[in-house]
Amino acid sequence: MRNLVYFLIISALIVLVGQFQSWNLALSILNLCIISAIMALGVNIQWGYAGLFNVGIMGFAALGGLAAMLISMPPVREAWSAGGLGIAGGIVALILTVLCAVFSYRKMRGTRFRTLIVVLVSVVGYFVLRSFFDPASDAIEKVNPASSGYLGGLGLPILLAWPVGGVLAGAAAWVVGKITLGLRADYLAIATLGISEIIVAMLKNEDWMTRGVKNVVGLPRPVPYEINLQQSDWFIQLAARLQTDPVTFSSIFVKICYAGLFGVVLLLVLYLSEKALRSPWGRMMRAIRDNEVSSEAMGKDVKARHLQVFVLGSMVVGIAGAMLTTLDGQLTPSSYQPLRFTFLIWVMVIVGGSGNNWGAILGGFVIWFFWIESEPMGIWLMNTLTSQMDSGSALRAHLIDSAQHMRLMTMGLILLLTLRFSPRGLIPEKNAHH
């Protein structure tokens, strides 16, 4: 009952934004709320079900974004003929190197030179790989650097990118998890922090793949374009029947289409998560979370289950990341900021209620809503507070300029206060035995 009220309040808030600011804004808030809710669901799978602390959400979301670009953009033929072969050779060399290193690591167990051999294999492999990559990426980046200078993508429908983004993120999670799970919780946290920094550095610097900071713009959309809508008869008639201006209505219509697509994904992920949570698997996960030692004594493979849940959660984050890039219509590597992507999602999960999927969704909606709306509120607050000061005062100007940084502080405070006074969040986990 109380939960329903929470959801009604947040829906009412979004409707209020629609009434008083604009419906366009309200719908874009709604769309990002849904994406945030999916990311929060992914993190909740890791943290709420298994107690794993992932500080690399940004990286997994960025991999999803990369997938959206790689799947949907049309391939650049000249770039492929200039350096496609070299890149392919580099990738083959990379795979061979990893296989050789793993093989020698496995086969030489117990011998004295194992570490030396593995390092040697990796170093030689690295040089072979670079000898393929370097000329190829130079050649690719020289092809029309102003407009392309990268390989492009596969030219497939962008909706296909959502599951692919999940797979990419899951693969990265598998590598990190394989190494750090089973050690202290701190190590997983630090390793995920590291991998996310590296993934974003790659997106920013591997121009042959992502155009780097030049951004890839104009990703194909899964929904109609405003301009086409405005020119089609049925749409003009619909707008006339609703007595709205077709131009404004077209952008609202597009956002509604997105909201529908995202809503379907949200419901699907929620359904699967709830099913999993209520299944024997979900009970086992919670048992492991609450007492690892006794679950291990019951014959559960704790490390394997942790790896499984870590990969699953990261996949959900990757899907949400691909959706976000689809909505933006562009891949902008510099937009991946840890505070925005990693830590904000954590605030959502903690505030919403860790271990409860509905809580994660509510957290996603509430926190994203306030994150967006707190900026105008903060500036308004600062203006009011400083209204007594001299209008030319430097301090006043500084305070008003700094209002945006209040958001960080507020989010930190919300996190700390929730953790302290209401650690179970807005919608607590059902039958939690804490």
Partner: protein
């Protein structure tokens, strides 16, 4: 001669910067490792604590400069640093009182501390950006160089110069002084011994009458001092930007883990391991090779193993390797 030139080149671009950077990382990692040894969690707020201490130092530096107080050839920031430490310690103790103490009294899981430290990180980051802004701040004054490349060339007759910035010299010297003081404190004083005892075996320490609140408070003060010193030295050497300090978290954690979390000696070693690997792997060796081999053997490329954009990848890979091979770090990571 050619060999000496190559050595000079390497010293200028690898040895000297890595020594300075390594000292900064070592000081940062010492703070992380101390907090870990006593409070048993990895403090994600450490990077931003560094930024906070540095920010106070910068504000005092500006104040001193405006009053005309200078240290002659040395940067004014050294004079302001004690005030930075003071404010930073007060701030960190306040966060302990308001945030961590509650979880200590409940004996919460380490991962809860971890999340709480993320919250503290957020708030500290907000405060720093609020007060000093998110942009680059330059606060170094005094002399710029101990020895300039030109002077070195004239002195030795080599065609490659070695320049040592004053900030690099100060960094290394300060690191030695601070580490000496820290080890004296941990090994010789009563408080230091009680800290080590608490870290080795908390229950036994409590039984023998060690006051846990006192140990924790001392730890936080030490961590704040180390963070401020590391942050100020880094800021003098490069420049101060709040986001850079957040990004320093990764190499600092890597240094602490490589050396073994909770082990101060290991943290210092780890700091230098990370710094030297990072700089050696991202340095372009073309000109060094040009001195060592005959002219027509010189390769076309830069001979750079990894572009500097990926310097974080170096600390990350070292971190993963250590976790794979020796999960407890090079030195055994228990106790302070």
């Amino acid at each position: 001669m050619e060999l000496l030139n190559a050595l000079a080149l390497l010293s200028n671009y690898v040895l000297v910067p890595a020594l300075a950077y390594g000292s900064q990382l070592a000081l940062g990692a010492l703070g992380v490792t101390l907090v870990f040894g006593i409070l048993r969690f990895s403090n994600f707020a450490h990077g931003d604590t560094m930024a906070f201490g540095t920010m106070v130092t910068i504000l005092f530096t500006w104040w001193f400069q405006s009053m005309g107080i200078h240290l002659g050839p040395l940067p004014t920031a050294l004079l302001a640093m004690p005030f930075g430490i003071l404010f930073c310690a007060a701030y960190v103790l306040a966060t302990d009182r308001l945030v961590y103490r509650f979880y200590r009294s409940k004996r919460s899981d380490p991962v809860i501390y971890l999340i709480a430290s993320v919250g503290v990180m957020f708030v500290t980051n907000g405060i720093v950006r609020f007060i000093i802004g998110p942009d680059d701040q330059n606060f170094a004054d005094g002399e710029r160089f101990i020895i300039k490349a030109g002077e070195f060339k004239k002195l030795t007759g080599l065609s490659e110069g070695v320049s040592i910035k004053l900030s690099q010299g100060i960094t290394v010297i300060t690191m030695f002084i601070v580490v000496a003081l820290l080890f004296w404190f941990l090994n010789k004083t009563r408080s230091g011994k009680s800290m080590r005892a608490y870290s080795d075996n908390e229950d036994l320490a409590l039984l023998s009458g060690i006051n846990p609140d006192r140990v924790v408070a001392i730890t936080w003060i030490l961590a704040a001092a180390l963070a401020t010193i590391a942050g100020t030295l880094y800021g003098l050497d490069k420049s101060f930007k709040p986001f850079t300090y957040f990004q320093l978290l990764l190499p600092i954690f890597a240094a602490a883990i490589v050396g073994g979390l909770g082990n101060p000696l290991g943290a210092i070693a780890g700091g230098f391991v990370i710094a030297f690997s990072e700089i050696m792997i991202t340095y372009a060796y073309k000109r060094v090779i040009a001195y060592l081999v005959p002219g027509d053997w010189v390769p076309d490329g830069l001979i750079q193993l990894l572009s500097t954009d990926y310097k974080f990848a170096v600390s990350f890979v070292i971190l993963l390797l250590v976790l794979l091979v020796r999960p407890n770090g090079i030195f055994k990571g228990t106790g302070v």
